[in-house]
Symmetry: C2
Subunit: 627 residues, 2 copies
């Protein structure tokens, strides 16, 4: 079938529509495919409440997949949340509090299918730096303020700032986090208890106190790690098409529920051991209250038996935490969003949703939460279809919180450490730097910088430094843009052709002038300069002034009798008016006109053999003074 | 004369030279014109000691011009320095100390002919914020540290950071300075004495204490202003070709030495008045010691009768002053340099030279100094040829310092205020914002922002904020580059043509993907996407990954049976290897190949009437399955 060819006008119209439409706001791609296009109001609702996008088409098949995924994820998120809570220096129970309200809100407002909101080791690791040694209320208030900051950023459409975080930075950041989390869990595996900030001093303390290691903790942890790794290998079996279907399904569920299994097994071991001897040789989780959390709006000031913190004091104590935590949290969601088939993330919608999760989360005493790569991997493996899985997950967590809290005390800390280590291990990626080293040294440099600073001075410092460095590099590109300067020929007439690679803004104008003046000095004879504006995308006042000044420079470069002509070729009309007109500066829009000016100049400077070129000049309509 | 046409190879060589040479370091243009080119070592000396550039060609004619300019400038700089010293809150004498060592150093190392180093109201106004209310030694140490910072910046070739200050910012900054200096001198004109920081509170204090105004000060100041304005008008007479030569010369010298004249006259009036009545009704300059300053390296710690400041305490007190003062000082020099015929400024050399001036200046108890627009105007009017004028100027200031110091006490403060007001008035430029308003709203916005912040919160805050805002705008340009997306046709085959305006770096890649995907959604039928890499100047790893991902996006957009082909047209080879190859992504370097791929795709998708296009396809070497 050969589609009816559109008329020229129709095509023009279509092209215009294509060029105009993308400037409208960031709607999901799905919504536009429908015919007729939904009203603006409807599109808005669809955008901000993505649930309405998938709910109308929800069917039984999806429902079964989502149910299975939800249960599996629920069983995974319970031990993970407890481990993250311990990493954040909080009792186990508060991890679970974060794991039920987030998913329920994300069910309605979440725009990325496979993001499961909950505590993550990354956020826990960063937030512990701002709450360590302070009353527990600081953690909830940090959650609340993070949520507020995220909502404000989303409302102000500040999502685009995340575009300034490049992939090497994200990768280095997550690898460094993995290293730091693993290091922080080593001491738990060894049963050594201390509180030291910074990787170097922590490693130093650990090595000096290595003889205090508790062999029982180590055995428990190692067994857990081996168990988790073995079950993880089962996933490969499940993907092997040669095996029987039942075996494959069994392997898949065994593999995806490995975290729950190890916690169950270790818990039962502890329960029996305690029942028989009254104590166990390894550390157990901290005691926790058993009951559903109250829904209370957190108070902005904190009162403890020792002292009262006013809101401003709290802000001062939390410091940049209320900026870093929201950014780190959203970063994970965006990274996951980029991995999903849809590929494009509506960052502002994510900011609003995660902001809501955190804000309501703080009302049920949650720690700051976000999506996690580990949960993304599991939801992909289970074939999760829609965010409906969040509903089942939330219910499971709620049940665990209501009835299982007393039993959390039987979970060995080393087991939880093993879960954290195994789950964060996927974030360690050292293939990327190798590839960058081969193919893009600059990106490798950024990776290395970010990684080292993150590991040595903390992830938030590393992130900040790398963003600044990459931004400075982008700025530098404006100061030293690609400018081609070469001598070209048109009808035997030579001229200096200057082709700026892109927009010329103020930082670049002196560089452009220098390049042109050098070329003129190099070309001993007087030679016209043509600046090709084809590729110029922008020009500001300073740069426009610089171009006018360049024409004066060219006047002075030549001797008194004559000046070098500066031809501005194909400059957009709106930029032309910014440039001050001088005697030796002309604008041209066609090559014919350039040729005319070149001929004129060559005649004036005596470079052209008059007779030879006389006919051409007459053709061009020039009166030649034949004295 | 028709110059021998070069062979193709020679031209190629020349073009290469022209393209290669400008990448070498920033030498002055002059030095290269000489034949044979000077050795690298010689060029270095010539660059760093510009005196050797002009000294060999020095002649009698230049000498006379320089002598006259030097004397005139000397007579101007004396009252100006005293006024600036008072503005900076220092005794008169210290202004003169700054005005003799700077010029002598600039004579040797200065690269801009018409810059005369000395105290300026701009630098004085900024530095007083960091030294006010502190011992006088702080001022000298600020000079010393500013010099050190400038030398460090020059050595590290950090001059390029000044390229990030756009012209609207410089203009707004200097206009705001003018407003602030004039406001600060109003109280002196009115004879009211108070010390208040900030324009608003100063205006408030002034208006509440306006009834304390001393009418004698006001009369003295107003007379001085009128006198200065009248003599300034004489300059017009000197430029009127119709007048006699002698009259014109007289007018010129009267006009250029107006500052000295008013100080002389006012001083004599005070001297006589004091001699007759024993007191004058207006304020006189502060008492000053009479003697040449000692040459002593400033001590890094400051001891006063009340307390001792260690070096760190001094640094803490001076705060950002040691960064702001060097930058503000160099800014003026660069701005002047851009006004001179040469037009190009070697910023690093200027940093080194002014740094030396400040460092040695602090050894003779000088305040921070730099070039000044007022002195540039005078040196242009006097026809100054080379920096030799600095020598005569320095000697005159030295003589004044040795023998005239006691007489400085006779100069009325209102006269000095009048000199400052009249000289800074030239910096007020409100024509530029009007033009910017008409021609470039964005530049106008920057001007307005910089001006308002400078006036309301201090010039250093304004400068900082504007640089940040302009830098953020440049960064934003990388996030939202110009990307043309339109449907084009090649041999009746339609395709989506995507032309990114310049380099695609990580902040822009999602924007590019969104634009392309929208265009594909818009074009209901399956249509090949061609990204035209002609104008792409750079690509980083994140962007390259994004392009690979775009090809996967296109796979998913189409239905399962087929995928949309992504053709990357004319991508530089070194960028190609960064992009992961996928099934539906091909690289093309010629239009023929693009046509081939388009035909192939159209055949596959059934868009082409087979019979009609069969011959074309066979021509292209395609086997067509004719089942």
């Amino acid at each position: 079938m050969y589609p009816q060819l559109e008329t020229e006008a129709e095509q023009q119209k279509k092209a215009t529509i294509v060029r105009l439409l993308p400037k409208s706001d960031n709607n999901g791609t799905e919504t536009e495919r429908k015919d007729p296009p939904p009203s603006k109001w409807k599109r808005r609702v669809l955008r901000h409440v993505p649930m309405f996008q998938w709910l109308p088409a929800y069917n039984m098949e999806w429902g079964i997949d989502d149910f299975i995924s939800g249960i599996t994820l629920g069983l995974t998120i319970i031990p993970e949340s407890i481990a993250c809570a311990l990493l954040a220096g909080l009792p186990a129970r508060y991890g679970l509090c974060s794991a039920f309200i987030g998913p329920l809100i994300y069910l309605i407002f979440g725009s990325i299918d496979k993001v499961i909101i909950g505590p993550t080791s990354l956020v826990a690791l960063v937030s512990v730096q701002f709450t360590v040694g302070r009353p527990i209320e600081f953690a909830f208030l940090l959650t609340f303020l993070s949520g507020i900051v995220q909502i404000i950023m989303g409302t102000l459409k500040m999502g685009f700032i995340f575009e300034f975080i490049s992939m090497p930075v994200i990768k280095a950041f997550s690898s460094a986090t993995a290293i730091l989390v693993i290091e922080s869990q080593l001491k738990v595996l060894l049963g050594i208890k201390y509180l030291v900030a910074g990787l170097l001093s922590s490693v130093k303390t650990l090595s000096s106190r290595i003889d205090e290691a508790n062999i029982a903790d180590l055995i428990m942890g190692t067994c857990a790690i081996v168990f988790l790794l073995l079950l993880e290998l089962l996933e490969r079996v499940s993907r092997n098409e040669k095996r029987g279907k039942l075996l494959r399904i069994c392997c898949r569920y065994l593999s995806t529920s490995r975290n729950t299994l190890i916690v169950l097994i270790a818990g039962i071991v502890s329960f029996i051991w305690l029942g028989q001897t009254g104590q166990v040789p390894y550390s157990l989780g901290k005691s926790a209250l058993s009951s559903l959390p109250n829904f209370t709006v957190p108070s902005l000031s904190i009162e403890t038996p020792e002292r009262t913190y006013s809101f401003w004091e709290v802000l001062k104590e939390l410091n940049i935490g209320i900026i870093v935590i929201p950014i780190v949290g959203i970063l994970t969601n965006i990274s996951i969003g980029k991995l999903t088939p849809k590929g494009l993330v509506d960052t502002n919608q994510e900011l609003l949703t995660v902001g809501l999760c955190n804000m309501f989360g703080s009302c049920v005493q949650a720690m700051p939460s976000s999506g996690a790569f580990t949960r993304y991997a599991i939801s992909t493996a289970c074939g999760l279809k829609t965010p409906m899985a969040n509903l089942y997950l939330g219910i499971i967590v709620l049940l665990a919180l209501s009835y299982l809290s007393p039993y959390f005390n039987y979970i060995p800390e080393a087991t939880l450490a093993a879960i954290l280590i195994c789950s964060i291990f996927t974030l360690l990626d050292f293939k990327l730097p190798l590839r960058l080293w081969r193919e893009s040294k600059r990106d490798f440099g950024i990776w290395l910088l970010c990684f080292c600073v993150c590991v040595l001075f903390g992830v938030e410092v590393g992130l900040f430094v790398s963003i600044i460095v990459t931004a400075l590099h982008l700025l530098f590109l404006w100061a030293r843009p690609e400018i081609h300067v070469k001598i070209q020929e048109l009808d035997d007439m030579q001229y200096i052709c200057v082709t700026p690679g892109n927009g010329i803004y103020f930082p670049a104008i002196n560089y452009l002038r220098e390049r042109v003046l050098k070329a003129c000095t190099q070309a001993d004879f007087k030679i016209t300069v043509v600046i090709d504006g084809h590729r110029i995308t922008g020009l500001d006042y300073t740069a426009a002034q610089g171009i006018s000044k360049l024409s004066s420079d060219l006047c002075r470069q030549a001797d008194a009798s004559s000046s070098i002509l500066l031809i501005l070729y194909c400059f957009p009309t709106d930029l032309q008016k910014l440039i001050d007109h001088t005697d030796n500066l002309v604008f041209c829009d066609t090559e014919t006109k350039v040729k005319e000016f070149l001929t004129q100049e060559s005649l004036r400077n005596g470079f052209i053999n008059l007779k030879e070129h006389i006919r051409a000049s007459i053709d061009l309509g020039y009166k030649i003074d034949m004295e």
